[in-house]
């Protein structure tokens, strides 16, 4: 949604009304996450809910356009332009091996000591058996492509809103 609505603001493309309630719900959730107190959380945990919601919302838009083909290209571009989805993250999802990437920080090797990616990118079978990991950037528990259904991204594992998959 445009930050400021005026008489000159362009109208949203066709079909926006159908998905607006869901996007609004995401928006309120994001607001809640932003205003959440940090007490009792670890330093690194503070931003996890933000990353998680950001991933969820982008994923929602991505699936609407690329997977279910429920929205028009025009509307999709409108959503990207208005910041409802992260174009850079979606660009990664289109690449082989990056289908489930949790966030962009986790695949940025320049940020690590040994030029590696985040631990959540390690396939489940390469990890120690029974080891549960939570990456420090976004709290992802594993988002490698090869791990199958058992290793979805953080968003798909932790309380995805039930309403999301059904509308539009």
């Amino acid at each position: 949604m445009p930050k400021i609505k005026s008489s000159r603001t362009k109208r949203a493309p066709e079909g926006f009304d159908d998905i607006e309630p869901t996007l609004r719900e995401f928006q309120t959730k994001m607001k809640d996450a932003e205003n959440d107190p940090h007490e009792g959380k670890r330093k690194i945990e503070a931003l996890w809910p933000i990353f998680r919601l950001h991933h969820q919302r982008s994923r929602y838009v991505y699936e609407l356009y690329y997977k279910r083909e429920a929205i028009s290209k025009e509307l999709y571009e409108y959503l990207l332009k208005q910041g409802y989805a992260d174009a850079n993250l979606i660009a990664k999802w289109k690449k082989a091996g990056y289908e489930k990437v949790c966030c962009l920080r986790c695949i940025q090797p320049k940020d690590t000591n040994f030029g590696t990616t985040c631990v959540c990118r390690v396939p489940r079978d390469k990890l120690e058996d029974g080891k549960v990991i939570e990456c420090i950037h976004c709290g992802c528990r594993g988002c490698s492509s090869g791990s199958g259904a058992s290793a979805g991204s953080a968003a798909s594992r932790k309380g995805k809103p039930a309403a999301k998959s059904d509308d539009a």
Partner: protein, 359 residues
Amino acid sequence: MAQIKADPNKVSWEESAFPILCETCLGDNPYLRMTKQSQAKACKVCERPFTVFRWCPGVGMRFKKTEICQTCSKVKNVCQTCLLDLEFGLPVQVRDTALGLEDNAPRSEVNKEYFAQNMDAHFQSTENGLGSGGFGKAESAGREMLKKLQRTEPYYKRNRQHICSFFVKGNCTRGAECPYRHEMPLEGELKNQNLKDRYYGTNDPVARKILAGPKAGGGGRQFTPPDDKTITSLFITGLTDAVQEKDLKGFFYVFGELKSVVIARKNNCAFINFATRAGAELAFEKAGGGINLEGAALRVSWAKSRPVGAKSEQQKAGPTPGAVMDALQAGPPPPPGSNSKVAYPSQDPTYQGSTSKYR
């Protein structure tokens, strides 16, 4: 090597290219990656800035870093991380007691710094620390004792994660994700350890335990024939894989008829069960000081009688419980993960290749 500023009045800042570490602290991974940060922290002994190295010593271990500066490490010939002697892997107090070394390192703030700078200059000119200096003949007995006390292989359990302090209080909310160990800490004297005491070799509970333990001659192991006349077994420790059952049999049958020889490979120990008490006594008389078989220095002591009760029935087949405890102290268990098939992801060439682009 450490580079020290020329001006003697300036506080010297250490700059080193490689840490001084023991085998255990480095871990079992031959492809170790380390980070280096110059003057990152204050040495926990002399409080001067020093180069901190940080690495992970293997799968499932915690990240370790150097804790004291190289000068302090060289003064005592200890590992920069675990503060155990580099040659023997024993606490400073144990080594100093055995070798009769005097602790003359100053404790007061100013004197400490002066001492550290003097030592720096000394190491600059001579290039050797305490360990490489020659030991007199008087110390050879002490060195023998230290050799008996030291571990035969690295003790990697020391590198495990710390115990979760929240779990101990009963309110860890992280559950399975918690990287710290969910165990209760050991009670007793051993939990009150402190880095400075360990470094200076004063009031170190671990050292006290080792010095009072069986191998240092502080009691515990039976060296006099036990009063219980039914005991006809000798307990052998320090076994290596080279020592076979026939070697033991070949050595001990001359003293009397053998009932059986039981070898516990896992604990590097064995039991020689004689048919008669006289045989066992004769064997202990001849071999009690230790024997040498196939290049392994074996230590011989009397086995202990089994406690009477339900427990002894369960363990009928195995060695006596007391003896097992002795054996556990004698040799550490194999390192965790040493038998696993894929030890390190970094041994995988594709893994290495994937990162090279960004270096």
